[in-house]
Symmetry: C2
Subunit: 428 residues, 2 copies
């Protein structure tokens, strides 16, 4: 494949996507639901083909010596394919966000301005090894009336192709427009570069993957990119905290699923209670097998703690490791969170409502919590039904992104001949 | 100035801006209004200094031979300075968008999820020659709780410095945080490059200016950019149009102020009425001194029309020129608008509500009109009180951008110790 051939083929997909987006924007909620149900059923029917394709990906991965969680992410099995199908059915039943009237105003001159929720258009999804993203992303975009152009990683290319084919074939039986779900058949860097430059055909790119992928897409993209960066989440244990509750919230945040982006990475402890609180925390974390990397004060109190280095405060461990720092004040805690955090999810544990409100209004993160585990930063937990990710951006979508965040709006203005300058004379 | 010195100084401004943004986010609506009124009064008090600075800019412009509308944009006079001050007072009186509760949900587990409107943070404004943008942009950003880093063009640097100083000095008397409004003292390209790469300190960049400026910013920026591209706006005259109304709407759209981005550039006419309608349109436009560039059919009907070339369909004339095309159907009109338009503002003139709805739902533009002049695409006309521009993007803000579009939101979650996995055993 030459660069030129990749360019031509990806641009052809862009034109198809744009055409499909127009058709999709006009589909009724019922039609979209029917399409989704047919897609779910097609995934089930094609399970064997999907698993065979996945076996080819796994074989190639094994040949390249891919191991551990990298390999684990690639794996599909009967249960996971069923989960994909069930996920599609669930999205099918969610309320359709498109067409909602967001506002309706009649201006003094009689024009009526309606603000209506509409699909964004064509959404590019660039992702790495998890094949289920093929379905999750395409389905959420479809439900919200958008066309998708998917570009997955090379490790999962066979699985992705099989899944995309099942979705397309199933959907077409119920009227899925051609080009509504497309998978880029190239997995080299060049195809990402072409997508990122295709401003007239892609309205937004959502990269799903590590920081390297996101940064590469941002540096190339001419269209908006919705970023889902790391979660470097903090718990601040205030002097007025219910200490038992604090231990439980930190335990849950750190150990209930430490690979989640909403898992805790750093605990900040008010100096007034550090000597009392830290041993209780340490005891619980030790039971869970969590390594503590502490500041000097922490290490003075907890003899077993390792001394944290500067890098620890900005590391997303995604592992059974936590950094712990003793701070002098809530102000120092807020400053630390805003400086080292990733503006994702942070919690204060305190019985003081006044201090809780101060923390929440000054911490510049998508989700700020008072006496609740940060693990609730999740579209499902927020009641969105499903999520495409958790945005660490502040524009368009912040925090958990559901169907509504996959839409835009349009102003429709109706009148009977209103002119900006109605009093102007014509001619002499 | 070396690149390194520019880098250091712009980064220092970034850090200041970030600190100021936190302080601004906590200011009450009353405090912000008081600051704005003090700023307006300071602009009046400093009018002489501002005009002297402007005279230096004009002298330099004259020395470089800058003429016509380029020079006109630079000019300040007593009236324009008063308009700037009055504009600030007007913004001061607008409702404060910050702190609005957008949603409040209690989940089955008892956690309460509040969605609150918050400022975006630090906004970069990169603009060209108009010195009034210094004030307009800073003031709207301030009212919505944001810090601004302004980077104006070299032609207006003295005027911009004088205006920014007046705003800062006035604001400080009422508690404007230091760093809330900053003007980059450099006007070379390097300073734009540094701003565009300063992802940790700038949350968004809004370029105000020509396509060249916007494209340059987009290509360099690592943070979101809200784009205000050209307005290539269309009127489609349907076979069921009230033809007199159509002539009036096109006249208003083209000639009431042809330099506006919401002015009409292209007229599409249903083939069924072209022979009847085009002479009426031509007669009116001729009286206004508008040149018609027509498709072949148009030129067959209107002998005076110049034959349009391909480029005409995607040109924003901003002048007394209009391109006219006869189309076979509403579908062809929609396709033309979506292909050649800039997704800004387009109108259908028809007595058929059914066709109007079809046009409005299929034209992929920020503002779609039925029997109304496109010149109403404007924050003031929409009732926003003021606008920072008209976004041709689909994400975050689409169409006229007022104060609300200069905000983001944050989720504040309150509970009493809820855990993701409350039933998990500790130990053993």
């Amino acid at each position: 494949m030459t660069s030129e051939e990749i360019y031509d083929q990806v641009y052809a997909m862009g034109r198809m996507g744009r055409r499909a987006a127009l058709e999709l924007s006009l589909l009724s909620a019922e039609r979209k639901s029917a399409i989704l149900l047919a897609m779910a059923s097609s995934v089930r029917t094609n399970a064997r083909l999907i698993l065979e394709a996945n076996a080819r990906d796994l074989e190639a991965a094994d040949a390249r010596g891919i191991k551990g969680s990298m390999r684990e992410r690639l794996v599909l099995n009967g249960e996971r394919v069923e989960a994909i199908a069930a996920g599609i059915e669930q999205v099918s039943g969610l309320p359709d966000p498109v067409g909602e009237q967001l506002d309706l105003v009649t201006r003094p001159n009689g024009i009526q301005i309606e603000k209506v929720r509409v699909p964004i258009g064509v959404i590019g999804i660039i992702y790495e090894s998890r094949p289920n993203v093929t379905s999750d992303a395409a389905v959420l975009c479809l439900k919200s009336g958008n066309a998708t152009i998917l570009r997955g990683g090379s490790e999962a290319i066979s699985s992705n192709m099989a899944l995309a084919k099942a979705l397309q074939e199933g959907g077409e039986t119920e009227g899925l427009p051609e080009g509504a779900i497309q998978l880029v058949p190239f997995t080299d860097r060049e195809s990402v570069r072409v997508l990122a430059g295709m401003g007239e055909y892609l309205d937004v790119i959502i990269p799903r993957g590590g920081e390297g992928l996101i940064k590469a897409v941002v540096s190339m993209a001419v269209m908006p990119v919705i970023k889902h960066y790391d979660g470097i989440c903090h718990a601040f244990v205030d002097r007025d905290a219910d200490q038992e509750q604090a231990v439980a919230i930190i335990d849950d945040g750190k150990t209930q699923k430490c690979s989640g982006c909403n898992a805790l990475e750093t605990v900040l402890v008010d100096g007034e209670i550090a000597v009392d609180f830290l041993p209780k925390l340490s005891e619980r974390l030790e039971m869970r097998g969590v390594e503590i990397r502490g500041c000097e004060v922490t290490c003075g109190i907890l003899r077993g703690a390792v001394l944290a280095c500067d890098e620890d405060w900005s590391t997303e461990y995604l592992d059974l490791v936590v950094s712990v720092k003793v701070v002098d004040s809530i102000e120092e805690a807020i400053e630390h969170v805003n400086h080292y955090g990733s503006h994702h999810s942070d919690v204060i544990i305190t019985r003081s409502d006044e201090r809780a409100e101060r923390f929440m209004s000054m911490v510049d993160s998508a989700c700020v919590y008072h006496n609740v585990s940060t693990r609730f930063s999740d579209g499902e937990e927020f009641g969105f039904g499903a999520e495409i990710g958790i945005s660490t951006d502040k524009l368009h979508a912040r925090g958990p992104m559901g169907l509504v965040e996959l839409t835009s709006y349009q102003y429709r203005i109706r009148g009977d001949g209103q002119l900006k300058d109605g009093g102007r004379q014509v001619g002499l």
